[in-house]
Amino acid sequence: MQTSLSGLRPKERAKVIGFSCEKAVLRRLLELGITKNTYLFCMRWAPLQGAIEVWVRGYRLAIGYEDAKGILIEKEGKQVEKIGLHWQSELRKERPF
């Protein structure tokens, strides 16, 4: 189901399928590794839903709510029960980043 990154909940993973944002934002996303078919894993949201923190290409990235709306994704559902001690290994079992 297609939706934007702003709808991704913690512990869910999604694949990037497109963008609907300004060029300036797109450039920044590209150089940080958010391209089509990239996998994003939501770690948490900031209080008041101000920004989302995702795990992408092995590192943590914070994206503001407005900018998250411009990243179109396809959800894959909840991947881990909790972000515990070995959550990265859990994720990598299915899909090495």
Partner: protein
């Protein structure tokens, strides 16, 4: 000497390596035309002139950092480049590598943070990576200094061999379409690199997105070949973030930290002990020391006329004392600011506060400078430097004075204490919050109308936590302190002297001890009509209120003392006119020190004039509204006071 450029992603430890190799002797300045810092140093052991470039994720010329890096490579023509890569973010880091590889320049890659990678179960085969990329790859540890010998060897070898640019795009099926577009650039210096850069900049989104995808495809394939992934453990940063980014505790923890910082710098009673906090302690210490010094010097000149002595001790020593007295608090503030920034915590605050700051129309990083403004505007103006975008900095500096500084407090205490026996606390609260609201409103207006009005995208890497290095911290403090003393302090001193002269000289340019004959009160009387509509400058003694406001330009504390000196104090006001007077006091032009700090930071007389007008205008309108509308309301609700 061969020129060696340090390049790499932000937070990869590049600067730490730079410091380790150059021994912390770096010359720090700015790149021409931008506020991005430039660091140069000499790696004495191997004889390289090292230049530390700002952290970049790629070479698109859209941020000042990227433009600076690009400019350095094309114009200054370094002899060799060293890319520092954070092992734990290899996939992302190689994006930049594929771009650097397109340069006709010897290149060496240094893999940093191996220990952290190990903790995450990541092991990278440097030799394989080197083969794939076609350049030397060295494993180092920036902090411990491991790997220096291998690094030096690799650099020497790379320099010897020389290098021609190669692009990974050539391996793709898209290449035949791209080649004709790049062709015109080939043959010229850095032709391949510039040609592809031009391609990426084309307005059709397709090229850029496709090329980026190709680069990452290469990076992923490369990582698969050179990385062995073992069991990963949650690292310390993540564990700490469980606390600092906690959905409920995150912001309260932040507020506590800010309160602590504030307390350390401005509090008169450190943790309730009755002793002043470090910031205040050193400030008072400096003032005291300078006064003693001044007295000592005076004793050498017993024959000086009275006014001379007064000029020296009040004007000069007072001025110097004032200017220098800000230094401890500025240093205290910068110490904490730099500490929080370098440790990686500031990034968390930007994350936590993104929503609330969006409401106010300012960046989350404005929180600290603005909070500082409640103590004193001077360090707040300087502290605004830590903010990312110039535009946000400008707006922040403009609204800092609305956050009622500590020096304005004595006046509120006097007037509220005597004229508002009930509801005093409520009034205080209204004044402070009113200032914040006015600031927020202006921030929104300025953002939409005067400045671009577009929100900057909030896309930020979460850096790892680490203890800031003591030596870099001290270096920063030293630099900031020196800069303040040389620039701001001189302006503050000059202005203080002028004001002293204006309040101690008559129109005939004779010295006088009676301030009601001085130039300052003459001016005061002259402009009193300007303040009459605001309610507090009416009648025979109206000029005293005006003179008090004028003296506030020297220091906000002086408003109260001037009222005392001129006689009258709280009797000059009615509750309503006192309220409008306080509102004016709150919002109008800050003291000469803050104005100087503003000027120092903005570097433009035009912007200074704009700021002065904005502050004056705001104060006037607000006081006017308070007096007249307030008057109507009170008439209707008489008995409230």
């Amino acid at each position: 000497m061969k020129k060696l450029g340090f390049i790499g992603n932000p937070n990869c430890g590049k600067s730490a390596l730079f410091n380790t190799l150059t021994g912390g002797d770096a010359r720090v300045g700015n790149w021409p035309g931008v506020t991005v810092e430039r660091k140069e140093g000499i790696w004495k052991k191997e004889g390289y002139l090292c230049v530390d470039l700002p952290g970049v994720y790629s070479f698109s010329p859209y941020t000042p950092e990227e433009r600076v890096a690009l400019g350095f490579i094309i114009e200054e023509k370094p002899d060799v480049l060293l890319q520092v890569i954070d092992c734990t973010a290899l996939e992302r880091s190689l994006y930049l590598t594929t771009q650097i590889l397109e340069l006709d320049l010897p290149l060496v890659v240094a893999l940093n943070m191996r220990e952290l990678a190990q903790a995450q179960g990541i092991a990278i085969e440097a030799a394989t990576l080197s083969e794939i990329l076609g350049i030397p790859v060295v494993e180092i540890s920036a902090i411990t200094g491991e790997g220096q010998a291998a690094l030096a060897e690799a650099l020497g070898l790379a320099l010897q061999k020389g290098r021609k640019g190669k692009t990974i795009l050539a391996q793709d099926k898209l290449w035949p379409k791209l080649l004709p577009l790049v062709q015109p650039y080939l043959g010229k210096p850095q032709g391949l690199f510039l040609g592809i850069r031009n391609l990426e900049r084309q307005e059709t989104v397709d090229w850029e997105g496709n090329i980026a995808a190709l680069r990452y495809a290469f990076s992923v394939a490369c990582c698969q070949k050179v990385t062995k992934q073992g069991v990963a453990k949650r690292d310390e940063t993540e564990r700490l973030d469980g606390l600092f980014l906690h959905p409920l505790l995150g912001i309260p923890i932040f507020l506590l930290l800010m309160a602590f910082l504030f307390h350390m710098t401005f509090s008169l009673s450190f943790f309730g002990t009755g002793f002043p906090s470090p910031g205040v302690f050193f400030k008072q210490g400096m003032e005291y020391a300078i006064t003693i010094l001044g007295d000592m010097i005076l004793r050498f000149f017993p024959q000086m006329p009275d006014w001379g002595k007064a000029f020296f001790s009040e004007g000069i020593v007072g001025g110097v004392g004032k200017a220098v007295s800000f230094l401890p608090q500025i240093l205290c503030l910068f110490f904490w600011l730099t500490f929080l920034e370098d440790s990686g915590y500031m990034a968390r605050t930007a994350f936590l506060l993104n929503k609330p700051m969006g409401w106010l129309g300012i960046s989350g990083r404005a929180f600290l400078p603005l909070l500082t403004g409640f103590g004193c505007s001077v360090p707040a103006m300087l502290g605004a430097r830590t903010m990312e975008r110039e535009e946000s900095r400008k707006i922040t500096r403009l609204i800092i004075p609305f956050f009622s500084c500590g020096a304005k407090l004595p006046l509120y205490v006097l007037l509220v204490g005597t004229l508002f026996p009930k509801h005093g606390g409520l009034l205080f609260f209204c004044l402070y919050i009113g200032g914040v609201l006015v600031g927020a409103v202006w921030a929104r207006i300025l953002k939409k109308r005067i400045f671009s009005g577009k929100e900057a995208p909030f896309i930020m890497e979460m850096p790892r936590y680490h203890w800031p290095r003591g030596d870099t911290l001290m270096q920063t403090l030293y630099r900031r302190g020196k800069e303040y003393l040389i620039k701001a302090a001189t302006v503050i001193l000059g202005a203080s002297i002028l004001i002293w002269l204006a309040s101690h000289m008559t129109l005939e340019l004779e010295m006088t001890m009676d301030s009601s004959q001085s130039i300052l009160s003459f001016i005061g009387r002259g402009i009193t009509p300007f303040f009459t509509p605001l309610g507090f400058a009416a009648g025979e003694d109206g000029w005293k209120a005006t003179a008090a406001i004028l003296s506030g330009f020297a220091a906000k504390e002086a408003v109260v003392s001037t009222l005392g000196v001129l006689g009258g104090g709280e009797e000059l006001f009615t509750p309503l006119s006192a309220f409008s007077f306080m509102v004016f006091h709150l919002l109008s032009i800050p003291c000469v020190a803050a104005v100087s700090a503003y000027w120092l930071e903005e570097k433009s007389v035009l912007r200074l004039l704009f700021a002065l007008c904005l502050w004056l205008f705001t104060a006037w309108i607000a006081a006017f509204l308070v007096y007249h509308i307030g008057g109507r309301l009170l008439f209707a609700f008489s008995g409230l006071l």
